[in-house]
């Protein structure tokens, strides 16, 4: 029966299964961890250690309307409203021990990785204290040059090995290095399939609505080391390919304009942010989330480096190049930059990014203020105005281009 299911359904079911597996493991008395989204999942997958992802919880709670309530609870605990909303939601959950939108099993250990931000370190330090569980950190220092040099690879590798030893001690499970190799192979298969799927955004029209990426990326984040995930992404890529051949798309309506959306989605305002684009015929055809959850490597040292090349860990020039390449490959007409109140790492050089991006691509850009899960930092009116302005410019550019062709 499975072959008749769409990739969307398969991915959703897989996401639910991964979450349920963690609960089942917890109920069986197995040790379960809370894990950073860009932690090298190869370790836990190969060791058969169930983990859940507080960042995903933050996004899901935000999307289901609980962001404000949970953030306000954290602020009542003494946390500042200017802190990352994922962390506030999760720290509130750690204290409350309940959340009506989504619950995850409580951890026996924590796996932290700061390649996406140092905020992760502070957040997990507090969890370790609050929940009285051990914390393992894999520190991946921000890249100070384009390539991840041997000094960094060596440092990350030492922590990778150290983490395995600590996890063996905590969980009583042993690392099987043959299994690790096969997980690495499967992860490559998933990553390639994910990249192949999102690569169809370059087709005109794109065979899918770019916002689909936001829905599908959860599995890319949490399950890419499993065969089921690899197969689901292959199915997704096949569907997009078929759509492209038939000129079909999951985007509703005519794709009049194509844009790059920079930054994390505003989960609490996802519908609003999507509809304001969709009704103007604007499809998201470029996003950093494509490469964000694909980790390509052929050996362990390259695996270490791959985790240093995640968005927000790279030097600025490499980050810029990734956006410019995505914009050019996917033929965007404009770009939207989300100045995310929650994420200082992502927002701190965004104005410079926008300037240089606009100069290199020649497309119009707008920015708006928002937040990944706290709706209080998002203004519908500001977003509408900015999108309207961008649409006007894209429209003018289009007319000018057509006039040029006809002249």
């Amino acid at each position: 029966m499975d072959e008749k299911k769409s990739a969307k359904i398969v991915l959703r079911e897989l996401q639910d299964k991964i979450a349920q597996d963690a609960w089942d493991a917890k109920n069986r008395g197995e040790k379960v961890g809370w894990c950073a989204s860009n932690f090298p999942q190869e370790i836990t997958t190969a060791m058969g250690i169930p983990v859940v992802f507080p960042e995903n919880m933050g996004a899901a709670v935000g999307a289901k309307g609980g962001g404000r309530r949970m953030c306000e609870y954290a602020e009542g605990m003494g946390y500042s409203s200017s802190m990352c909303s994922y962390s506030r939601i999760n720290l509130a959950y750690a204290d409350l021990k309940k959340c009506e939108e989504l619950e995850i099993p409580f951890p026996d250990f924590l796996l932290c990785c700061n390649n996406i931000c140092n905020c992760m370190i502070k957040w997990y330090e507090n969890l370790a204290l609050e929940l009285n569980v051990p914390l393992i950190l894999i520190d991946i220092p921000h890249l100070d040059e384009r390539e991840c040099g041997p000094d960094r690879v060596k440092y990350i590798r030492a922590q990778f090995d150290d983490c395995i030893a600590k996890l063996e001690e905590i969980t009583g499970k042993k690392m099987d290095y043959e299994k690790l190799k096969s997980v690495m192979d499967v992860s490559q298969r998933s990553s390639r399939a994910w990249l192949r799927a999102v690569g169809f955004m370059s087709e005109t029209p794109s065979p899918f609505s770019g916002f689909d990426i936001f829905n599908n990326m959860a599995v890319a984040c949490v399950g890419r080391g499993t065969v089921e995930a690899a197969e689901a992404f292959e199915l997704l890529a096949d569907e997009y390919e078929a759509n492209a051949k038939e000129g079909k798309s999951t985007f509703k309506g005519e794709e009049k304009y194509r844009i790059l959306f920079e930054g994390i989605a505003c989960w609490a305002n996802l519908s609003f942010t999507y509809k304001a684009l969709q009704r103007r015929g604007i499809n998201l055809t470029a996003s950093i989330y494509g490469p964000a959850f694909s980790f390509l490597y052929s050996n362990l040292d390259e695996l270490m480096a791959a985790y240093a090349y995640v968005p927000n860990c790279n030097c600025f020039e490499r980050e810029l190049e990734m956006r410019v390449d995505a914009a050019k490959t996917n033929k965007v007409d404009g770009a939207i930059f989300h100045v995310n109140r929650s994420c200082r790492n992502w927002s701190g050089a965004l104005y410079e990014m926008e300037r240089q991006f606009a100069a290199q691509t020649g497309v119009p850009t707008v920015s708006f203020d928002g937040d990944q899960s706290d709706p209080r930092s998002f203004s519908e009116a500001q977003y509408e105005t900015r999108i309207a302005a961008l649409t006007e410019i894209m429209e003018e550019n289009k007319l000018r281009k057509e006039a040029g062709k006809n002249a």
Binding site: M77, G78, Y79, S80, S82, M83, C84, S87, N114, C117, N118, C119, I121, K122, W123, E125, N126, A128, L129, E130, L135, L137, I138, D139, P141, H142, D144, D151, R152, K154, Y155, A158, Q159, D162, F316, V339, R341, C343, R344, N345, S347, G348, A349, L350, Y351, E352, Q356
Partner: protein
């Protein structure tokens, strides 16, 4: 006291100190928070110059940083964009927090005249691989500094610089302890100026001046300190003139501090060994009490409780730098530790761009009254 005038004057115009050093033929390297290897700059014969923001209104920097970034970064970048730091031969910017990770980029594109020296250090700082990583970074930084100063930085010079810095850190702690015994002689603003001046002058000279002042304080007749409230301060920086004046007006003195800009780096000396670079690489693994260094057991909280207890403080003043998320994360668990130890704590928010502290004034007055049992 008039003996503090030298320090107060120096802190009143860091720019004058910068220009004067450059005029005297000295190359100057800007040093941003936190824990940059200043010793290498000193060993190169250059002047390390602390950059911890300024009490100015930032406007140009808003083209780079959104509003929800701390004033230390906004105002330092603002000074750079205005050209006020053009005399620097380089600027060391570490990746200590998410905001600082972007400072280097914004500086490189905004302030093209002053090259950036990136400073990376291991967060997993207590394992050998962390030290090894730090050592590799120090070698890179050393090479960049050698390019700027135009000569090799020898091991002997680094060892000598390590000694100068160790002596300076010891002098700072000695002064802090001596000042805590004489609130009738040293105001909070003067205490701050004495510590802060070290960021703008030769450290060996600073040591001599500070030790001279400590000699005077230690020789002064014992003070009963009656009517004063003793507080330990904690945070990133606590040099707001308005804040220090409020403390003085409420007869509050600082009996010890856990401020990154003040004593935090001083509590950790560098081992004076045959391999000074390795000793420097190990040092960041040994510093405690800072929110930007991996601290899984919140050693910061334990250290703060001990500081308050050992110094006989009446309470703790948390000087919260606005929009500093590492501090904001630490506040909740560390406050809980203080509460458990029965140590009263007051948190006030400071922002270099809004120097008026109306609300803080009332809060500090109320806190002082509470501690006095009024």
């Amino acid at each position: 006291m008039r003996e503090c005038e030298f320090f107060v004057q120096l802190c009143a115009s860091p720019k004058a100190a910068l220009d004067s050093a450059v005029k005297a033929g000295k190359k100057v390297i800007g040093v941003m928070p936190y824990f940059c290897p200043e010793e290498l700059v000193y060993a190169a014969g250059m002047l390390p110059f602390g950059l911890w923001g300024a009490e100015i209104q930032a406007s140009e920097s808003r083209r780079y940083f959104p509003s929800f970034f701390c004033s230390i970064l906004h105002t330092t970048l603002e000074l750079g964009l205005r050209g006020e730091l053009d005399a620097l031969s380089g600027i060391m910017i570490p990746f200590s927090c998410d905001s600082l990770k972007n400072m280097g980029t914004n500086w490189r594109y905004g302030v093209k005249k002053v090259p950036v020296i990136n400073v990376s250090y291991a967060q997993n700082r207590k394992i050998p691989a962390g030290t090894e990583f730090n050592l590799a970074q120090l070698l890179k930084i050393k090479a960049q500094l050698e390019e700027i100063c135009g000569h090799e930085i020898t091991n002997e010079a680094i060892a000598a610089a390590v000694k100068v810095y160790n002596e300076n850190r010891a002098a700072v702690l000695r002064f802090s302890a001596a000042a805590a015994k004489h609130p009738e002689l040293i105001t909070p603003a003067e205490r701050c100026a004495v510590l802060k001046a070290g960021y703008f002058m030769d450290r060996a000279e600073h040591t001599a001046h500070v030790n001279w002042l400590s000699d005077i304080l230690e020789a002064a007749p014992e003070s009963s300190r009656e009517g004063y409230i003793a507080l330990v301060t904690t945070g990133i920086i606590a040099d707001s003139p308005e804040l220090l004046k409020i403390l003085e007006d409420n007869r509050i003195y600082i009996t010890a501090d856990q401020i990154c800009h003040e004593s935090v780096p001083c509590r950790c000396l560098t081992a004076e060994t045959e391999d000074p670079l390795l000793a420097l690489a190990k040092r960041t693994g040994e510093i405690e009490g800072s929110c930007v260094l991996f601290d899984p057991g919140k050693e910061r909280g334990h250290q703060l409780v001990k500081l308050a207890q050992d110094s006989g403080a009446d309470g703790v003043l948390w000087v919260m730098t606005k929009f500093c998320d590492p501090e904001e994360f630490d506040f909740v668990p560390v406050k809980r530790m203080l509460d458990a130890a029965g140590i009263p704590v007051l948190c006030i928010e400071v922002d270099q761009q809004t120097p008026e502290l109306g609300q803080a004034k009332s809060a500090i007055r109320a806190f002082a009254e509470e501690l006095r049992g009024i």
